[in-house]
Symmetry: C2
Subunit: 296 residues, 2 copies
Amino acid sequence: MSFKEEQGKKVEVIETILKKYLPEQEGYQKVIMEAMEYSVMAGGKRLRPMLMLETFHLFGGNSDIIEPFMAAIEMIHTYSLVHDDLPAMDNDDYRRGRKTTHVVYGEGMGILAGDALLNYAFETAAKAFSMYQTKALEIGKAIQVLAQKAGIYGMIGGQVVDVESAGNAVSKEVLDFIYELKTSALIESSMMIGAILAGASEEAIKDIETIAKNVGIAFQIQDDILDVTSTAEVLGKPILSDEKNEKTTYVTLVGLDKAKEYVEKISLEAIELLHRFETNDLFLEELLKSLIHREK
Amino acid sequence: MSFKEEQGKKVEVIETILKKYLPEQEGYQKVIMEAMEYSVMAGGKRLRPMLMLETFHLFGGNSDIIEPFMAAIEMIHTYSLVHDDLPAMDNDDYRRGRKTTHVVYGEGMGILAGDALLNYAFETAAKAFSMYQTKALEIGKAIQVLAQKAGIYGMIGGQVVDVESAGNAVSKEVLDFIYELKTSALIESSMMIGAILAGASEEAIKDIETIAKNVGIAFQIQDDILDVTSTAEVLGKPILSDEKNEKTTYVTLVGLDKAKEYVEKISLEAIELLHRFETNDLFLEELLKSLIHREK
């Protein structure tokens, strides 16, 4: 089976899990369950739950304790998109070719659907306590990481600085901060929770955090690179958009060659770190490489 | 010391705890910490953390394990106000005489501040795992309740139905649903978490849930009653506003006398249930009574 085929099969498995953990559509408040499902089941690569599950397997995890957390991380990722798309934020009417949640359900319900997904992420993750009472400490640690990486010291923090910097020149230090918090944080969370729930050592969890951080930053810089080197046909969206929007990127800050070198460097570091962990399953390594060396 | 004096002293203690658990105002994302503090420290009766702490004491709890949860429930209450005030929701520019969060920090930051508070509520509650590793199961149970009562089967669910019903006639069944979820749910959460973390029995936790539910509903119906029986001077806000807004209330549905009788009935039930638990401290009972029999 090719990597692409394997990835497609894994996406199907993950989407079955997501559906299982989404709330039943019933009760007077049914519309909010509909809006939640509409936004979560809008497609996508399911990257975060996939990284979580693969990392869980890497450390020998093989129970369904991971499932509520896989659903939770995708709910958090989805809520961030729903709120990002709101008129007061990016004001986007379409995402992946479908109308955005607030366009379908109204702006007030768009806000509530995002709130509901964020809250339900923790409600779902906390179901693990009932499923595995003897693992309460590991589950607690996983919930701590889930919250930290999604919050003001993680994704929301990155989002805040990104919003604040719009239209202003940004230093490399600030750009690093935004990339690490806005993109890496949820990837770190995904992989760390996989490791934590599989019972990995503190040291291994630290290594996994570093790997995820590098992968997230490399992914984001690759985005900057493709914006100036790709074509609209390959990318599926307009190129040179950063220049048009006068946006500071790694390419504008250090130049194209240095940006490429840096992606190469931190990718290599990530893969080398991953090799510390013995495994016969090469899917995770291929997945990480596909994120860094993507052409679209 | 009078009840009012005692209540004032307790508010001070609670506000010290809230400040302790709010994030330091530092880093590139500092503005979000400022917006969080602006909204949380806007005053108020601190009813939910107070009920949590008093219930914790009722069952013999006496450690600081309750503190992160007291901060968490107030953060959740506050985020719901911040998002309620947004232009796409109630569009309120003022709350308790101060400009609302989105008016001061902008609409985008208002959305993010609400998100940040909701996320940080769970991040804060989860700190209890590091503080009391041997209590991981109780903390897990408390986090489950925190999430359930704030989410689509609790506060958000009530808010959704309230928003959806605006301008429509509402049946008594739907009104009960809204009151229970929108108002009672967070009061139930507060008191249940106090009981859970103090090690109360399953049966006692159930009783506490019933007490809190009744208090929340009585509180809400008293609101309907005061709108037709009080004066603008006593109430500090316009009276007859429900009639003006063509809002269905308990008074419009069952009439003033029946509404008063019902408040009396469920209040009595709540206080009788409370008497099952022996205590020398009458503050909790006085607090519950003050919520039901308030004149403003």
